[in-house]
């Protein structure tokens, strides 16, 4: 009788108990609706643009969120993503069917993640250092092999082709990128919150030694989470290439920190063990909404980062406050 509704619905496991993120999400929409000239922010065309552009970072951030819940970071996404895009492009040039190339590049992305995971597990160094190194390593490799030249893929994947439609088309006016992001979020969310492996991810991030003592294969949990990130980088890389119609060596630049920012804004702990899929998705959109809303409201493009910086600090403080309140209940 004493159990609260949240507990009865098992919402605690979804971490919805901390309502900060959803509230700020709605507040951000409302504020930018209010302050953008002629309410341009909520113009359907602008909302469609947000829905189309956010998933590039969003798809990768889903993986980063899961990885951070298990207690690790991955900065190398900024290089794995364009490298996957380059490999995809080379496969197309070699005459591989785009659908097949897409399917091939996913395990290649996962293999980059596997390497990160194995290095982190074997060296026991902080993943921040390992993936900083692999980020620089792969970016160097990419710059050398690609010569920094963009490569058009429109010959192989015309913008009206079935393949381009599958990733970047529209259904009832909703950009497919957005639906892909939601689809992946639902699948990964079910895995994270309701599967045995998901419990292992939280256990590993919350208390590695306890998880190990209870027979959770923590090293494999971490390696698999790195592989999920890698595969999502590959997914995002192909989706972005399909939208741009080309490979560009600048793809993914800055994603490493923006993904962490989005995930933290979504209520994920930097120490591991805490986070939710709903929060991660909202976090990505909050970052994008702040970005987009500020530009529409007349803030110079290059000044936007200042506000995102402020927003991150604001969020972490807010999340800490609400978490403490729940802990002391």
């Amino acid at each position: 009788m004493q159990t609260s509704i949240a507990e009865r619905l098992n919402l605690r496991s979804l971490n919805l108990a901390s309502l900060t993120t959803p509230v700020v999400f709605i507040a951000a929409i409302f504020i930018f609706w209010l302050v953008s000239p002629e309410h341009r922010f909520t113009d359907p065309r602008n909302l469609a643009a947000i829905a189309k552009l956010t998933p590039d970072l969003g798809v990768v951030a889903l993986g980063i969120g899961i990885l951070m819940i298990c207690g690790e970071f991955d900065l190398s996404i900024a290089s794995i993503l364009p490298l996957c895009s380059y490999i995809f492009t080379q496969l197309l040039i070699a005459g591989v069917n785009p659908f097949l190339a897409f399917i091939l590049v996913l395990p290649i992305g996962a293999a980059f993640g596997f390497l990160n995971g194995v290095l982190v597990v074997l060296t026991r160094l902080p993943s921040f250092i390992i993936t900083l190194s692999t980020m620089m390593f792969w970016r160097g490799v990419l710059y050398v092999v690609s010569g920094l030249m963009p490569i058009s893929i429109l010959r192989y994947v015309p913008s009206d082709s079935a393949f381009a439609h599958m990733l970047t088309g529209q259904v009832a006016g909703i950009p497919l990128q957005f639906l892909w992001l939601l689809f992946l979020a639902v699948i990964l969310g079910i895995m994270l919150h309701y599967s045995k492996f998901g419990n292992w991810i939280f256990a590993t991030g919350s208390h590695r030694e306890a998880a190990l003592a209870m027979g959770v294969p923590v090293s494999w949990v971490k390696i698999i989470c790195f592989m999920i990130v890698g595969a999502l980088c590959a997914f995002s890389a192909v989706m972005q290439s399909a939208r741009l119609g080309s490979f560009a060596a600048t793809q993914g630049i800055g994603f490493e920190l923006r993904a962490i920012a989005a995930v933290v804004v979504g209520g994920t702990s930097l120490m591991g063990g805490v986070g939710s899929m709903v929060g991660i998705v909202l976090g990505v959109f909050i970052i994008q909404i702040i970005d987009n809303g500020l530009i529409l409201s007349g803030v110079p493009v290059f000044g936007v980062n200042t506000f995102i910086g402020i927003a991150i600090i604001f969020f972490v403080i807010l999340n800490n406050m609400t978490n403490r309140q729940f802990a002391s209940e």
Binding site: S13, Y194, F202, A203, H207, A213, G215, A327
Partner: protein, 252 residues
């Protein structure tokens, strides 16, 4: 005849256990027995070899010399998993539970019951968790309470309930009362008595002699990797024991 032999044998029997860490001789020919329904207090100063001994029992370390028998069978564990499979569970202070996960998810951590597609059977986990906690006399509001919201005593209770739920025959408690308030210590000691009445053998490690005196049937003292005392609790006193521990020898 074989059958009666097995019943007469202690649950766990260790003979001449030696363990080295490089040049450090951590255990020097230790004999150690424990019977079903028995609570043994394991004491000794820091570095006496207590944790090395329990890590040998629970499969974290392998003894270089000596024999170990569990339920009459000789065993050589190469991992904690093997020890756990036979019913030896270790409950480490502050190492056993993930603070951000619910009680139910902690009890089933690593052994989650699943349905199709690897999805957890949460209803089963919740029901069995509440049952397991009730069995040791711990009544929580809900199986979805996060561990970080529990008191230290309640956390030990969850860890102990988990051990019995998975049919442990021998539970090793490593400093279960350290850093607990007086009321919580009493709670934990009650859990330990509950374990005994369920037929589980308990090895109870502690620095606080008063805590084991309340519950232990027998007390074993280690010093410098050797067993220096093995006395039924009713034949000794706290003062005598602390004297043995401080001097590092028994007798004269």
């Amino acid at each position: 005849m074989n059958q009666s032999n097995e019943n007469a044998q202690p649950l766990l029997q260790m003979r001449g256990i030696h363990k080295w860490f490089g040049r450090v001789h951590a255990l020097r020919g230790v004999d150690f027995d424990i019977d079903r329904h028995e609570i043994v207090g394991l004491c000794g100063d820091n570095g006496a070899g207590k944790s090395t001994l329990i890590k040998v029992i629970s499969g974290y370390h392998r003894a270089e010399q000596g024999q170990m028998f569990f339920e009459g069978q000789e065993v050589r564990f190469s991992s904690p998993r093997e020890a756990r499979a036979l019913g030896i569970e270790t409950v480490y202070q502050d190492q056993a539970l993930a603070p951000h996960l619910s009680v139910a998810r902690n009890i089933f951590m690593g052994r989650e019951p699943t349905m199709a597609l690897g999805l957890m059977d949460q209803k089963l986990m919740n029901d069995q968790s509440m049952q397991a906690l009730a069995n040791i006399g711990l009544h929580l509001r809900s199986p979805n309470v996060m561990i970080s919201n529990l008191s230290g005593g309640q956390r030990q209770g969850v860890a102990i309930a988990r051990a019995i739920h998975f049919k442990a025959k021998l539970v090793i408690l490593d400093e279960p009362t350290i850093a607990l308030a007086v009321k919580e210590v009493r709670e934990v000691l009650d859990f330990v008595r509950r374990l005994k009445s369920e037929g589980v053998a308990v090895i109870f490690i502690t620095h606080t002699l008063h805590h084991i005196f309340d519950v232990a049937d027998r007390i074993v003292v280690l010093a410098h990797g050797e067993k220096i005392a093995d006395i039924p609790t009713r034949e000794t006193t706290v003062d005598e024991l602390s004297d043995i521990i401080v001097r590092g020898t028994y007798g004269d």
